[in-house]
Assembly symmetry: C2
Homo-oligomer: 301 residues x 2
């Protein structure tokens, strides 16, 4: 099976499980909430039918290193994807990045309204914690509690949400390369780190294996962001499914702006090499994760 | 100790613990995030220095019925309060209820800005799950996982967030008394129910005790909302710390509008009686919870 088809296969399973988690509540037909409020519909619009499901893929592949069956990692992977989708819905809001297009479709506050988008984001964040703490997620409650705690730390005021706050602050005053890297490590890096660390937790990995995966995740996250910035600087709107070069226009902090395109490409190659090196302890088993790092560096959309 | 002074004592402990949970991260002085982004400051503004801490109080008193020391219920109580504070920050946003004043102070999006308010709400929601899943919260990971799951269900798209979505929908078309009750059971009732149910979980209560507390919580929540609506219909801005009669002006669904003031007062008395009756199985131990139900029905602010 090629890497691409493996990614698509996993994305299909994630899509299917997310659809079940977000299915309308037909058990209470006497309470026709679906017609009164489009909250569930907006959550499904935001979370279903799109995306490469890269974070769930990393989580499932990291867990596989330790022999964890895909089924046993699937709900944690879906919880992570819900956190990612929530962050996109809120980041797109008029008060934040004010984006009208996402993956070639109107963003949630355009397709519905702003109040519904805020509540749908809130609810996707909440269902992530409902999912990862549920008995169905994992037999061992200690694992569930640990995963919940890690996911909350990765998402919140000392993780992804802080990264977004710093990214907004960077529109007000120029960030140095170090500050930009630190911001991106939070904004996009925290969830990639969770993906890999959760795989280690699910697999009962030892400290050295966990540390190796965290090192991989950090390099992977930086490579992902840098490739995204390069696409943004070079790409066109059609390939990205969003307004191209928008970040640069708004004076957003990107390493491409700070290093130049050639400098950024050299750094990107170094990050992919670092990600591969971090996986040395796992040998051939880590082939798919290595391909994933190359994939994000080379992607065109 | 009188009921009022007991409430104030517990509120003081909750305030102190919340302040510790939300303290600026001085462990990383090389990362001066506090100056770059006011996210933590906005969270503290939203969560500290105000409120009766009614939900934490109910949780701690419910746990006490089963002999749970206050210290062992405190972090769960603070997690619940963080969810409550998040909901206030987001409900006050311009796209939602558009309120400029809360407890006599500018709301978060006025005191800071809208993006910071969205992120501060998101982060208060997230820190709730970080707190309730943390080893410090409770020794038993199975209890932590169960509390996390219950709190997420109470807060999300089939709980409080759905209630807020329905409340917004009620501005568009008139809700019947039954619909209004169902909406309020979600919007304000879900967190009161969690408060009491979490006490039962922390106390290892049997099913009958848990059911009794849930019945109490449902009556309590309805009484709280009805008293709030009565204050809104009769009160003045100074006593409420917010614009009076605003809900009525906007055509928001309230039972006072549907039942009239005298009808609402009669219903309120019935709810308090039901709350008391639900606690019969606990005998004298439930005295404080009974006083709490009377307190919310009679409060003037």
């Amino acid at each position: 099976m090629t890497f691409r088809s493996e990614m698509e296969r996993v994305a299909g399973r994630v899509e299917q499980r997310l659809a079940a988690l977000l299915a309308p509540d037909t058990a209470s037909p006497e309470e026709p909430y679906e017609t009164a409020a489009p909250l569930g519909e907006a959550m499904r619009y935001a979370a279903l039918g799109g995306g490469k499901r890269l974070r769930p893929f990393l989580l499932i592949q990291s867990a596989r290193l330790f022999g964890v069956p895909e089924q046993n990692a699937l709900d944690t992977a879906c919880a992570l994807e819900c956190v990612h989708c929530y962050s996109l819905v809120h980041d797109d809001l008029p008060a934040m990045d004010d984006d009208a297009l996402r993956r070639g479709r109107p963003t949630v506050h355009i397709a519905f309204d702003e109040a519904t988008a805020i509540l749908a984001g809130d609810s996707l964040l909440t269902i992530a914690f409902e999912t990862v703490s549920a008995p169905k997620c994992h037999d061992d409650p200690a694992i569930r509690a640990e995963l919940t705690h890690l996911l909350a730390k990765a998402s919140g005021w000392q993780g992804m949400a802080l990264g977004q706050a710093l990214d907004l602050a960077a529109e007000q005053r120029p960030f140095s390369p170090d500050e930009t890297t630190a911001m991106q490590k939070l904004k996009t890096g925290a969830l990639f780190r969770f993906a890999c660390e959760a795989g280690a937790v699910l697999g009962g990995a030892d400290d050295a294996s966990r540390a190796a995966l965290i090192r991989y995740a950090n390099a992977f996250g930086q490579a992902f962001q840098l490739a995204d910035d390069l696409l943004d600087a070079q790409g066109d709107a059609a390939a990205m499914g969003k307004a191209a070069a928008k970040d640069a226009e708004r004076g957003k902090a990107t390493l491409v702006g700070l290093l130049g395109i050639e400098g950024a490409k050299a750094k990107l190659a170094g990050l992919v090499a670092e990600a591969e090196e971090a996986l040395d302890p796992f040998g051939e088993k880590a082939g798919t994760l290595i391909e994933a790092a190359r994939f994000v560096a080379e992607r065109r959309s």
